[in-house]
């Protein structure tokens, strides 16, 4: 079995007051919403050395729509104003992070522009700077090398992608991120995942980073044997890391095998000569407007385009994704024929027209001439790469751990100095002073258990949770049993998420805590209220009303107890306790805390 090497890149959003290069967000701002539309172009004059990823993106001509709102973005995000100087608070955090890993902090920070022309950055580049290089992270007695620690700006948030192009919200653009890139390791996928968990916990305990879903993202670089590095972007959940690694391993091993098969079939680069041909008339299919059908021969690929060893890990899928990326609706390849209105007779005609021999496959693409031919040339380039095994590329992680082609892997020619931002000098004093004693995880769990009287499981869960800061905030604000708050933010949150109801809403959660704290609702009602509120988009008050849970006063409770006790007249008080509790709770469940009921019942019974 070929050895597999995995490199992790962890991106953490910083908890800074402002974005990296401007003074957003502004909590006071109104709702002013503006939409606009842009086109990005690759910039280098020397087209020969244009960055491969940028050049690839350039082949499609998409317009990009943006949404800006006053509270979260300003002229800087819209690329209508030069960036402000580097956020010092963010730099401080990055230096502290570098010190955690004994990384060599640079004496000067040079902000660079990294070309990204998929529209996720209005400027056409992401601003990024190396803060430190080298260092190490201790994991289970071994030392994992740190490659680099960078400070960068987060990209805009994709809202939707239509045939016309992508649409982004600028709210996330410019939020400072620290990127920690680890040296590639040869470890089992589960170990890589638990290493990532351990690293994440160490960083979380610093309190320097934002929490919540999407505030920490992993890129996973996987390479099998001698082949190129595949960079898988956007692994949002820790649990997916090992799945992604296993998936990539399976997918790449198949591509290694594919190269071997092609070699056995005697396929070489010269077999790819010959231009794509217009086969519209051969197909005999009426196409609308300027649309034509074009065909590309795939020498020796018969049967290989549809073969897969992991779900969707077939080459045909990648070809379709490349075409989609370039604005087409996918491709048809001969491995899936007859289908799509192409019958055996049409296949024979195509084979004759394209000079298809035994063992060859072919690819059909419909579109306007120039664009379609340009796209088929990209597909031909991808087919040729198959002779050499898995190519170096950037892929996107799906929720189930599978990956999809995104773009070729960018090279160093996409870096350009950010001339609008002066170089920042980091003095030896700054390097020394910006440091932090890091906390030990086990020790922190122990302290948490003691401080809040929590079980180990609950303590670990809340410490790992995206809602840790809500927990500590609630503990400061209310005098409530910590276990109730912790359970709400972990077990209840997970349960509701599994029910497909998404994330907890901060305002609702705190409103519920508020009511609970006042004794207006019982802890039994928490999950129900949050469920109804998320499911039907109701406010907490509306949810309570819907559930018939309007709280009752202690006086009302006493009346109910008296009424129920009346019905049990003559019974021994100790015997009556259980029955009375049951009957009263039936009437007041969720409307008042159970412990108050207990207390009142006992007092009434004098026990």
């Amino acid at each position: 079995m070929s050895r597999i090497r995995v490199g992790l890149e962890i991106h953490l959003q910083l908890n800074t007051q402002h974005k990296l290069f401007c003074n957003c967000p502004d909590p006071q701002a109104g709702q002013g919403r503006v939409e606009f539309r842009r086109v990005l172009r690759a910039t280098a004059g020397e087209l020969g050395t244009l960055d491969p990823a940028a050049e690839f993106e350039m082949r499609k001509n998409v317009v990009i729509d943006y949404v800006s709102e006053e509270g979260t973005s300003c002229l800087v995000e819209a690329d209508e104003e030069p960036p402000h100087p580097l956020n010092e608070e963010a730099l401080r955090t990055a230096i502290i992070t570098a010190n955690i890993f004994q990384s060599d902090i640079m004496d000067e920070i040079h902000v660079m522009r990294k070309t990204v022309i998929d529209g996720s950055n209005t400027a056409g580049f992401q601003r990024t700077a190396v803060v430190a290089l080298g260092g190490a992270f201790g994991y289970k007695g071994t030392s994992v090398g740190v490659q680099s620690i960078c400070l960068e700006e987060d990209a805009a948030r994709l809202i939707e992608r239509t045939a016309a192009g992508p649409k982004y919200d600028l709210d996330r653009l410019g939020i400072p991120l620290v990127e920690i890139a680890l040296e590639p390791v040869e470890m089992k996928s589960e170990d890589v995942q638990s290493m990532a968990e351990s690293l994440g916990r160490t960083l979380k305990l610093t309190g320097l980073f934002a929490s919540g879903l999407g505030t920490i993202r992993q890129d996973v670089n996987v390479s099998v044997g001698e082949s190129g590095i595949v960079e898988v972007k956007g692994v949002q959940k820790l649990e997916t890391i090992s799945k992604v690694i296993s998936y990539e391993q399976g997918r790449q091993l198949w591509l290694v095998e594919l190269a071997e098969i092609l070699k056995q079939r005697g396929v070489s680069e010269k077999d790819f000569e010959g231009e794509p041909l217009d086969i519209t008339d051969t197909l005999g299919e009426g196409l609308k407007g300027n649309l034509r059908a074009f065909c590309l021969r795939a020498p020796g690929f018969s049967g290989l385009l549809k073969r897969e060893t992991v779900k969707d890990g077939r080459l045909g899928k990648d070809l379709a994704d490349i075409s989609r990326f370039m604005g087409f609706n996918g491709v048809i390849h001969s491995d899936e024929l007859p289908a799509y209105n192409i019958d055996e007779a049409a296949m024979e005609r195509i084979s004759a027209a394209m000079n298809i021999r035994d063992g060859d496959a072919y690819i059909i693409l419909k579109g306007e001439r120039e664009a379609a031919i340009s796209c088929l040339k990209s597909l031909r380039a991808r087919l040729m790469m198959a002779l050499r095994g898995p190519p170096s590329e950037t892929r996107m992680a799906m929720a189930d751990g599978s990956t999809r082609f995104l773009r070729p892997r960018p090279g160093s020619s996409r870096m350009y100095p950010e001339t609008d931002i002066p170089t920042t000098v980091v003095s030896e004093t700054m390097k020394r002073e910006f440091s932090l004693q890091i906390k030990d995880w086990d020790q922190t769990v122990k302290e948490f258990m003691e401080k809040y009287q929590l079980s180990r499981d609950l303590a670990v869960n809340i410490l790992d949770s995206d809602y840790l800061n809500w927990f500590t905030e609630a503990m400061e604000r209310y005098d409530m049993p910590p276990s109730i708050v912790a359970t709400t933010l972990t077990e209840v949150a997970i349960m509701l998420r599994r029910e497909g109801l998404g994330q907890l809403q901060r305002d609702s959660v705190f409103e519920v805590f508020d009511l609970l704290n006042k004794g207006s609702i019982g802890k039994e009602a928490i999950a129900e209220i949050l469920r109804i509120s998320l499911k039907d988009g109701l406010s907490v008050k509306e949810s309570i009303k819907r559930l018939g849970l309007t709280g009752i006063s202690t006086d009302d409770l006493r009346t109910i107890i008296s009424e129920e006790l009346e019905k049990l007249k003559g019974m021994d008080n100790k015997k009556a306790y259980g029955i009375l509790m049951g009957r009263v709770m039936e009437r007041v469940r969720g409307k008042i805390d159970g412990s108050i009921v207990n207390e009142e019942v006992r007092r009434k019974l004098g026990i």
Partner: protein, 423 residues
């Protein structure tokens, strides 16, 4: 010891306490101190290292002598001119490319290179490029206006249909006004164009502005001088402003240029030209390219001293354009020194610092005092336009008091419509 003998372009290896770095030595700007060295790592990132921290260093490979960061002057294309459009370059970075090795920006320029960068240009019109000068727009002088005006004249004589002038944006509206006066009835459109985002970034507005300028210059029937720039936040609409009715109103936005007291002449949406009106008539093409820079633009402010005017007059200034408050007022203690200046033969013209609207010296007493002193109200002429016009009037031996208030090129609008907003 660290005997540092690196030149930009050298591939070096540098050892500090815990790490060793390999990369290209990069040139540093004059504002980056000599205590550090900039290294471009293999992955393209630049880092800065303190020379004090370097324990060991060695040159792996000497580089070529690094090119300076000065912009090289763009060569003309062998004097041969052909095509529909002449693109005159005055400097700035409307189409530049980067030397990745040195990090410096250098202008890209042959029509072929530009057409490769912006393929749409070739589909709009055939064109040639002439590099006239390489000057930042803040350094443009009235003598440069003369040079540009003559170059435009030559272009039309050589048979070009239109002329596009690439210009830095800071003073583009001054140049547009100056050319408007210097070039009377040009045979075709003369379009100034710039960019608010430099062309070394993918989001630059240079390409779309150039496309708009080319479209207008090659297909409009208008004759005159114009500015082509973004009309909004989006890349899908370019506004064509009349050269004497336009102003830069924002420091950084793409749509910094606004037509004042009138609508833009046209818009280009995508590759489609939508003209509101056709500018210019059938008159003869007359070029009067001279400018006399003995004119000044003075903004009135509370507390302004009369001695400022005296200073200007003593310096030999022949025309003073005042940006007055509101309808065209200055404080009453300034009337005396202005009167003295007028007596010495200096022209005083009144514009408003309000930008929108017209001056009117009849409404208040101060206005009437200014009028009787001999100050000439210039209607709704923009102050920058009035300045350029006064230099042109002086430069061509025309009578300032007679010519300045006249509407020669659309610089004075008789009617201002409610429907034209100030946005």
């Amino acid at each position: 010891m660290n005997t540092i003998d690196f030149k930009p372009g050298d591939l070096v290896r540098i050892k500090v306490k815990s790490q060793s770095y390999e990369g290209l030595v990069m040139p540093r700007t004059q504002y980056e101190g000599p205590e550090h060295i900039t290294i471009k790592l293999k992955n393209g990132y630049n880092i800065g290292l303190s020379l004090n921290r370097i324990l060991e260093s060695s040159v792996i490979k000497r580089g070529d002598e690094a090119k300076g960061s000065e912009a090289t002057v763009i060569p003309s294309e062998g004097g041969q001119v052909h095509g529909d459009i002449l693109l005159l370059s005055t400097g700035g970075t409307i189409a530049s490319r980067v030397d990745y090795r040195t990090g410096a920006v250098k202008p890209a320029f042959s029509s072929k290179e530009l057409a490769a960068l912006i393929p749409e240009l070739g589909s709009i019109a055939s064109f040639s490029i002439r590099s006239l000068m390489s000057v930042l727009s803040e350094n443009i002088r009235p003598s440069d206006w003369t040079m540009i005006a003559k170059a435009v004249q030559e272009a039309f004589l050589a048979g070009f249909r239109g002329v596009v002038i690439a210009h830095g944006t800071d003073t583009m509206h001054y140049t547009a006004a100056a050319l408007s006066f210097a070039l009377e009835n040009p045979p075709g459109p003369v379009v100034l164009v710039g960019s608010q985002r430099s062309s070394d970034r993918p989001s630059s507005d240079a390409a779309t502005n150039l496309i708009g300028a080319f479209k207008f210059a090659s297909s409009s029937r208008s004759r005159g001088v114009f500015i082509a720039m973004h009309s909004g936040l989006s890349d899908d609409s370019i506004a064509i402003h009349l050269g004497v009715r336009v102003r830069k109103n924002h420091t950084s936005r793409r749509n910094a240029f606004h037509s004042v007291n009138r609508r833009p002449v046209a818009y280009i949406k995508g590759l489609t030209l939508n003209e509101n009106t056709v500018i210019g008539g059938k008159g003869e093409f007359i070029v009067r390219p001279n400018f006399d820079d003995r004119a000044a633009l003075v903004k009135f402010f509370p507390g302004m001293k009369g001695s400022y005017f005296k200073f200007l007059v003593d310096e030999g200034i022949k025309a003073i354009i005042i940006e007055g408050g509101g309808l065209g007022h200055v404080s009453e203690d300034l009337i005396q020194p202005i009167t003295e200046g007028i007596k010495k033969g200096v022209f005083f013209g009144m514009t408003s610092q309000c930008i929108w609207g017209s001056v009117n010296l009849n409404v208040y007493e101060t206005g009437r005092d200014l009028l009787s002193a001999g100050v000439v109200p210039l209607g709704d002429m923009l102050s920058e336009v009035a300045l350029a016009k006064s230099m042109w009037v002086l430069g061509n031996g025309l009578n300032a008091t007679g010519q300045m208030p006249l509407d020669l090129r659309g610089e004075v609008t008789g009617r201002r419509w409610l429907s034209v907003e100030q946005d």
